[in-house]
Amino acid sequence: MAFALTEDRDKQLADILTRYPTKMGACIPLLHLCQEQQGWISEEVVLWVSNRLDLPPAHVQGVVTFYTLFNQKPVGKHQVWVCRTLPCALRGGVELLQYCEKKLGVHAGETTADGAITLRSAECLASCGTAPMMQVDKDYHENLTPETVDRLLEALRK
């Protein structure tokens, strides 16, 4: 089936378009809506967005490739991001990432075989005062211990 936004998201788009003096202003918010709906930005989505906002496909593609958070290929059902940058590393961020790699049996950047979890390392997530930390989908988890990590990862498998 060809890509189209759900009715609800289409309404959100209408609201987004009122916020900017140009249609191009809606480009990043709209790409977020699309990714929320189908998990990643396919070529089809790029064409759909370029059509919807009257932008050249190359412009939309250029935006997608610039930003780390736009997935250019399918990813796992859940996203786990572990902060590795220095302030977190001073409090065990690197060990935390290794622990997750071992527990999940994947390297950072990979998805578990069951497709449940994509593990990635992140750069400073503005949570250095509560390190070590990780982001699971939309939520931050801070001041982590091995026990809380175990519980979090197990919950994602269910």
């Binding site: 191009m24 220095l86 409090r91 065990g92 005062g129």
Partner: protein
């Protein structure tokens, strides 16, 4: 001097502290914006704002009021206020607390700011990862709109103001203001050449002021107290560094956190009085004063300012730990105040591994537009990695300086300096450690520790 205040943080930690009800109850919310809009002209607002001596909280420390005064009405184009909440500078964790715990201070600041600079729309650019921050800001905007504080006639005044939240999609460079503007317009977040400066041609080609989120959140308090009174809360009022601000402390301390304090506090006070001292009672090795782009200071460094005319003369021969954290005081120390969140490193932390960690960050985040930055950041990482792995030579150690120096001043935006300066800082302050790695006296396996005594790392030993 350590003086704790709660002009902004009073709502922190309270039940529903982020709601309008809490803001109006605890912080006389929106009374100031009402008074400003109904009793002052826009010129008066800018003149008053200058007296607050609010130094930009985003890192560069430019005086907010002066920046506002650069805005000139354009015959045909509207003006915009853009709030920078991209908070991506490693070691910075302050703006997020305001968005989550006192979002109405941001909205009220935007109303006063828009009025002062002649804008009717403010965009708050929040990094995408901060979902709770976005949610709380939108909720605050909705509440303010429902009350008529935003919209066509805020507080009955015929001066429409709208505030929108815009998100990025994961790119540190979008914190740089012109890159942020490109991203706001729906483009790749690549920095723009200046001039034109945002005040001439910013968002959508229109006159624009870009303020950091904490900068704008300080505005209601400053106007409520009277801007001069606000400035005088700081012991650095005389050198035009005024008021109160958020100070963060992270890394190897017992109690990391964010504190609202009068400007004038020292690193020693932050580490030992508020941060509960260094983890495991270890001696202090070094501090990164305000985000990873600000050059590191060693704990055993002393101020050298024998000249009486030097603004740092008062602290001559004293430890750098006892100098008040200020924009100009820290510039005098050869580093920067930056975002005012300090990263503490205990003795035993490996400076080579630390620099390697940060160079990974800069390599990953260089947007690739300028060759010296794109190639230079890759070289800095590659050579540091070789040295850390015990494969580096003395020539390569010297090459690190050359690479860093060839980035400085040769890029469109300050990301280049932000990469080169901390690299040169590590090399200068910890030359001996780098040499020890080259000579094989130190190795990554034995000495490359970062997580000194932190709970998670200790628990992982032997896993």
């Amino acid at each position: 001097m350590l003086k704790v205040t709660n002009y902004l943080t009073k709502t922190y930690g309270q039940k529903d502290g982020w709601t309008l009800a809490a803001y109006e109850r605890d912080l006389e919310g929106y009374k100031t914006a009402r008074q400003v809009l109904t009793s002052m002209t826009k010129e008066q607002v800018v003149d008053e704002a200058k007296k607050a001596n609010i130094r930009g909280r985003g890192g560069a420390g430019f005086p907010m009021g002066v920046k506002w005064s650069f805005m000139r009405p354009h015959p045909t184009k509207p003006a915009y206020l853009v709030i920078n909440a991209d908070e991506g500078e490693p070691g910075t964790h302050k703006d997020r607390t305001i968005m989550e715990l006192n979002p109405h201070s941001v909205v009220e600041g935007c109303i006063i700011g828009c009025y002062g600079i002649g804008a009717h729309v403010a965009y708050i650019y929040v990094r995408d990862e901060l979902h709770l921050s976005k949610e709380r800001l939108w909720a605050a905007i909705k509440e303010a709109r429902a009350k008529g504080y935003l919209g066509r006639t805020p507080f009955g005044k015929d001066y429409p103001v709208e505030v929108h939240v815009h998100t990025g999609a994961g790119a540190y460079i979008c914190g740089e203001e012109t890159s942020l503007l490109n991203s706001l317009e729906g483009r790749r977040g690549e920095p723009r050449l200046k001039p034109p400066f945002p005040a001439q041609a910013g968002a959508f080609g229109c006159p624009t002021t870009v303020n950091n989120l904490e900068t704008i959140a300080a505005v209601p308090t400053a106007f409520r107290l009277g801007c001069e009174e606000f400035s005088k809360l700081s012991t650095l009022h005389d050198i035009k560094d005024g008021g109160v601000r958020l100070f963060g402390v992270n890394g190897h301390v017992n109690k990391p956190g964010v504190h609202e304090l009068c400007v004038g506090v020292t690193m020693r006070e932050l580490i030992y009085d508020l941060g509960g001292g260094v983890l495991g009672d270890r001696p202090l090795l070094a501090v990164i004063p305000g985000g990873s782009s600000t050059p590191i200071l060693r704990a055993d460094e002393k101020v050298s300012a024998p000249d009486e005319k030097n603004p740092l003369h008062k602290w001559h021969d004293m430890s750098v730990l006892d100098v008040p954290l200020g924009v100009d005081t820290f510039r005098g120390l050869g580093t920067m105040l930056g975002t005012c969140c300090i990263t503490v490193m205990a003795e035993g932390t490996c400076p080579v591994a630390s620099m390697h960690n940060l160079m990974q960050f800069y390599r990953h985040e260089s947007c690739g537009q300028c060759t010296p930055c794109r190639e230079g950041s890759a070289w800095l990482l590659r050579i540091t990695e070789k040295i850390l792995d015990g494969r580096g030579t003395m020539e390569e150690l010297d090459q690190l300086h050359d690479v860093a120096n060839s980035i400085m001043g040769n890029t469109i935006c300050a990301f280049g300096e932000g990469t080169a300066m901390p690299a040169l800082g590590f090399l200068k302050k910890f030359r001996k450690d780098f040499e020890a790695y080259v000579k094989g006296e130190k190795t990554k396996a034995k000495n490359g520790t970062l997580a000194m005594g932190s709970e998670f790392a200790t628990r992982m030993e032997g896993h």
